[in-house]
C-alpha cells in the first residue's frame, strides 16, 4: 500500500490536524481542561494518521510482528509515563507542610479557588 495517494492523504490530514492544534491555542478558542483534552485528542488522531499513511503499520500478515511489538511497547510507555506521574504526585502530596496540605485539600474539594 505504499502509494503516492497514501502519502498525500497522510500529509494533508497531518497538516490539517497540526493547524487545528495551533489555532486552538493561538486564537484562545478553548481553555483549561477542554483545551488539554482537545489537544491530546488531535495529537492521538495525528499519531494514527502517520502510523497508517507514513509508517504503513497495518494488520497485513507480513506486518503483524511490527504491529505486535509496537503495541507491547505502547504498553511499556503508558506504564512508564502514567506510573511516574502517579508516584511523583503522591510524593509531592506527602512532602507538603500542614498549611499547604490544608489549602490543597480545600482546593481539590472545591471549597476554595
Amino acid at each position: 500500500m505504499e502509494t503516492l495517494k497514501s502519502y498525500f492523504i497522510g500529509f494533508f490530514l497531518s497538516l490539517g490536524l497540526t493547524l487545528c492544534s495551533f489555532t486552538l491555542v493561538l486564537r484562545h478558542i478553548l481553555e483549561g481542561k477542554n483545551l488539554i483534552f482537545c489537544l491530546i485528542l488531535l495529537a492521538l488522531i495525528q499519531l494514527w494518521v502517520q502510523l497508517t499513511f507514513f509508517l504503513h503499520l497495518n494488520l497485513e500478515a507480513n506486518n503483524r510482528w511490527n504491529l505486535s511489538i509496537f503495541i507491547s511497547t505502547v504498553g511499556v510507555v503508558l506504564i512508564l509515563i502514567l506510573g511516574s506521574l502517579w508516584i511523583m504526585q503522591n510524593l509531592d502530596y506527602r512532602h507538603m507542610s500542614p498549611q499547604q496540605l490544608d489549602s490543597y485539600i480545600l482546593q481539590t474539594e472545591g471549597f476554595q479557588k
Binding site: E2, T3, L4, Y7, G10, F11, S14, L15, T18, S21, F22, L24, V25, L26, G32, L35, I36, L39, I40, L42, A43, Q46, L47, Q50, L51, F54, L55, N62, W65, N66, I69, F70, T73, V76, V77, L80, I81, S84, L85, M88
Partner: protein, 189 residues
C-alpha cells in the same frame, strides 16, 4: 524468496530498535511532565516560547517526512534522479529545522534561560535536544546515503538502507507531534 525474507528481518530489527528509542523518549517525556512546573521562582516555561516559530518547525518537519516518503516511492520505481531530488529536498528541510531549533536554543540561553537555570528547563532541553540530536544523526546518515547513491547507483543494499532511513525519519516526526503538543501547546494548569 530467501532474499526477501532477510530484507524483512533487517527492517524488523530496525523497527525493534525504534521501539526501544520510543521507550527512551517516554522516559524523557515523563521527566518533563513531572518537572515542567519547577522553575525555582523563574518565569513559567510557556512564557519563554514563541509559538509561530514552533509552528514553522512543525510544518518543515512534516513536509520533510512527506518528501522522504516520496523518495522511497522513487526508489521502488528505480528512478535514481527522482530519488536523489526528493532526498535532497528532505535534507534541506531537515537542515532548516535543525537551524531553527538551534537558534531557538541559543536565544533561550542568551536570555539567561539555559539548561542549568532550573529543573523545568533541564528537562525541556533534554527532551527537545535529544530529538534534535536524532535529527542531526539522521541528516548525517542521509548525507552518507546520498554519496553512496551518487557513487554506486541505486543498488538493493542502498534501497534497503533508504527504507530504514524513511522509517527513522517518519518516527522522528511522530515523536515531534507529542513534543509540540505536550511541551509547547498544553498549558500548565
Amino acid at each position: 524468496m530467501e532474499k526477501f525474507d532477510t530484507q524483512n528481518k533487517v527492517i524488523f530489527g530496525f523497527w525493534v530498535y525504534l521501539m526501544t528509542d520510543l521507550i527512551m523518549f517516554a522516559v524523557l517525556f515523563a521527566t518533563f511532565a513531572v518537572l515542567r512546573g519547577n522553575t525555582y521562582g523563574g518565569l513559567p516555561l510557556s512564557s519563554l516560547f514563541s509559538l509561530p516559530l514552533v509552528l514553522k518547525e512543525t510544518l518543515i518537519l512534516l513536509t520533510s517526512s512527506f518528501t522522504c516518503g516520496l523518495s522511497l516511492l522513487a526508489v521502488n520505481h528505480e528512478n535514481t534522479k527522482q530519488t536523489i531530488g526528493w532526498l535532497l529536498v528532505t535534507f534541506g528541510l531537515g537542515v532548516s529545522f535543525l537551524v531553527l531549533e538551534l537558534s531557538e536554543f541559543s536565544h533561550l540561553i542568551a536570555e539567561g534561560h539555559s539548561f542549568q537555570t532550573n529543573a523545568a528547563l533541564s528537562s525541556y532541553f533534554s527532551l527537545v535536544g535529544t530529538h534534535g540530536l536524532h535529527i542531526a544523526v539522521g541528516l548525517l546518515w542521509l548525507l552518507v546515503a546520498l554519496i553512496q547513491i551518487w557513487v554506486k547507483g541505486l543498488s538493493p543494499h542502498i534501497a534497503s538502507k533508504l527504507t530504514r532511513f524513511s522509517l527513522f525519519w517518519h518516527f522522528l516526526d511522530v515523536i515531534w507531534i507529542f513534543i509540540f503538543t505536550i511541551v509547547y501547546l498544553v498549558p500548565l494548569k
